[in-house]
């Protein structure tokens, strides 16, 4: 058999049938949250259909949940109805749900891996574009729309055409203070937000191999911001050690067989990719976005671009519109941009390693006077508990950060956490689109270290200067 990519192996092993290049692929894990599932459950009810395999589905409310006091439930009646609808649907269909108040509740893409519900070799879907996160485990994982959510619920399958395969190789050693988030933003800066459209991306190279599972999840999470529905990393010891002992991991008597299979989940020597992109780890610096698309990004020692220097009229118009929305002047050095708020959280950067890294920067310092709010939102109840056990909550609180309950929070501001018009935020989330964190809000995407550094400085600052 000819050399195959990891993507080939994952896709081909799940093909139930294929006709004229359109395949029906089997889905192993279906993660569900409250925003994109109500219409799917309703569709099943109307058609009198049942779930094909109930124990493949795991549900959790995350987008609408409050991150402050939860003892009185959700104040916004529309948000509350959506979460209650999920509760009711899970009861009606017999689906396991980690409800608000359960310590396992959290952002769906943090909860799945944490529970061992995401395993190597799986196909994982969720009605959420950041499902690409789970590819960090050598899984084929991508976001789907609500019609497909219903389709997977009813048939355990998805109609798919195979994507092209792209390899993004990052070789070398990352500098101190440079993270998986910076790799992700640097890649998007290089290939653009449509650079990965039509592709499944495999992240490879020595810099990727050196990343923890948390780092790999951050990277795969943002594959969708490069346009790729799926991102993935080959299985290695780091993957296997992470999975071992988690609640949904293989049982002891299944473990050896599972590991034997998982060890085959890498691209073969000489496997052919449709596109290859290469970056040198040493050349990647802490990144900050300046515009309204993740590709509008530069290094911390860079400046806001000058649209007058852009020859392409559509791009020039895009830059002009972005600068106007962001309230930025061309050629402003990034480290002279003051901020109003800081958000450390989201499915990109709310895992324990992210919180440790941010706390290390914040320790013994204080949030700057011009920063109105700096909030830390752990990715799950279990991340929160772990952080508290390590005393990270105390570090954050002493430094003037707010320590919140787990959820999606101000990544997309569906709950009460949001930017006011014109407010500027250093955010560890994944999208800086207009209005994403609140109407008129201005988002700059950064790593947790860079967000903490901006919080204490009051403006963007090279975190490496604080760490040395």
């Amino acid at each position: 058999m000819s050399a195959r990519t990891l993507y080939d192996k994952l896709f081909d092993s799940h093909v139930v049938r294929e006709e004229n290049g359109t395949a029906l692929i089997y889905i192993d894990r279906h993660l569900v949250h409250e925003v994109t599932s109500p219409q799917a459950f309703e569709g099943l009810k109307l058609a009198g259909r049942r779930l094909w395999r109930i124990n493949s589905v795991l549900a959790v409310p995350d987008h609408n949940v409050p991150t402050t006091d939860r003892s009185h439930g959700i104040a916004d009646p529309i948000s509350r109805l959506q979460v209650e609808t999920l509760d009711q649907n899970c009861t009606d269909f017999g689906v396991t749900e980690f409800k608000m108040g359960d310590v396992r509740q959290g952002i769906v893409h943090v909860m799945g891996p944490e529970q061992g519900a995401t395993l190597p070799g799986m196909t994982v879907v969720c009605g959420d574009s950041h499902t690409s996160t789970h590819g960090a485990f050598g899984a084929l994982a991508h976001g789907i729309g609500t019609s497909e959510v219903e389709h997977v619920m009813a048939t355990q399958c998805l109609v798919q055409k195979k994507s092209k395969a792209m390899q993004v190789r990052v070789e070398g050693k990352l500098g101190h203070g440079v993270t998986a988030k910076d790799i992700a933003l640097a890649i998007i800066g290089k290939i653009g937000t449509a650079g990965g459209t039509g592709y499944a991306i495999e992240f490879a190279g020595s810099a990727i191999r050196s990343l923890s599972m948390e780092g790999r999840m951050t990277l795969c999470n943002m594959a969708i911001e490069a346009g790729a529905r799926a991102g993935m990393v080959a299985v290695d010891e780091t993957t296997i050690n992470y999975v071992k002992g988690r609640p949904y991991a293989p049982r002891p008597e299944q473990w050896d067989a599972a590991v034997a299979y998982w060890s085959t989940l890498h691209s073969d020597e000489g496997a052919r990719f449709d596109a290859v992109v290469e970056l040198k780890a040493e050349e990647i610096e802490p990144q900050v976005t300046w515009g309204t698309s993740p590709e509008m990004v530069t290094a911390i020692n860079g400046s806001v671009p000058d649209p007058a220097k852009e020859p392409d009229p559509t791009k020039r118009g895009g830059i002009e519109r972005a600068l106007q929305y962001m309230g930025l002047e061309a050629n402003t050095p990034i480290d002279q941009i003051n901020i109003d708020k800081v958000f450390i959280g989201s499915c990109t950067n709310s895992r324990i390693e992210d919180l440790r890294a941010a706390a290390a920067v914040a320790k013994g310092k204080h949030v700057a006077a011009n920063v109105k709010l700096a909030m830390v939102v752990p990715g799950s109840g279990l991340v929160k508990a772990q952080a508290e056990q390590e005393g990270l909550d105390k570090i954050f609180k002493e430094a003037g950060f707010e320590w919140r309950e787990p959820g999606c929070s101000m990544c997309l501001a569906m709950n009460a956490d949001r930017l006011e018009p014109g407010e500027r935020c250093a955010s560890t989330s994944n999208r800086n689109f207009e209005g994403r964190q609140g109407p008129g809000g201005r988002t700059h995407l950064v790593s947790p270290e860079m967000a903490a550094a901006a919080a204490v400085a009051g403006h963007f600052v090279d975190v490496r200067l604080l760490l040395n």
Partner: protein, 212 residues
């Protein structure tokens, strides 16, 4: 699902690249548990001068006169002309639901984000890809010609301009078949129940830990 066969539709231009799904339907409207009713809030932040929230009477809100969808000449448009990477960002199917509810049945752009592109087909919207230079010429034609309409024929895979210029487009055969006939995907897949079951049995033997 609505079938799509032929459309003779008024075209409205949206001259921006990378239009994301947060712009197509802002997050506050995703709290609805219904599929319908998103049309009045399509492009909400660009379309209205105030901030929209669910439950507002949209007919009383101040419109942004500069936004093409609000201009008299484009009222009744069913074809949206857009730039590259249209529909990027989240997987929210509320985006095509909002476009459909507004009255769009076809989109023409040089490229789309994958998930959005796929979601359109599930809702009877035809997302057409044409080369950037042709899209560019259509933008010029739409802006200079009031009442500019295009005839879109899915069967023959053509877009025909008022001056009888015809542009061919590609569409996946399976998606075309479903769209032409308004077929329900789930019903089609369930014709293969035996194959799915047979696959599942073999698969469970090989990787039993996936079924714990």
């Amino acid at each position: 699902m609505h079938a799509f066969t032929q459309l003779n539709g008024l075209v409205v231009p949206l001259d921006r690249a990378n239009v994301d799904t947060d712009a197509i339907i802002p997050k506050q409207f995703l709290k609805s548990i219904k599929r319908a009713g998103f049309g009045p809030n399509a492009f909400d932040e660009w379309r209205y001068l105030d901030h929209g929230e669910p439950g507002m009477d949209n007919s009383k809100r101040p419109l942004n006169p500069d936004f093409p969808l609000n201009q008299a000449r484009y009222q009744g448009a069913s074809v949206l002309l857009a730039r590259e990477n249209f529909g990027c960002g989240s997987s929210r199917e509320h985006a095509p639901w909002a476009l459909l509810d507004f009255g769009f049945r076809a989109i023409i752009a040089p490229s789309y984000a994958d998930i959005f592109f796929n979601n359109c087909f599930k809702n009877g919207i035809l997302p057409i890809i044409l080369p950037a230079e042709i899209v560019d010429s259509l933008f010029k034609a739409v802006e200079s010609t009031e009442g500019y309409k295009l005839v879109i024929d899915l069967e023959t895979q053509t877009v025909v301009t008022p001056d009888s210029q015809s542009y061919a487009f590609e569409v996946d055969a399976f998606r075309k078949h479903c769209l032409l006939n308004g077929l329900d995907d789930i019903g089609l897949t369930l014709q293969h129940v035996d194959e799915i079951k047979a696959f599942e049995i073999k698969y469970k033997q090989a990787q039993p830990w996936l079924f714990n």
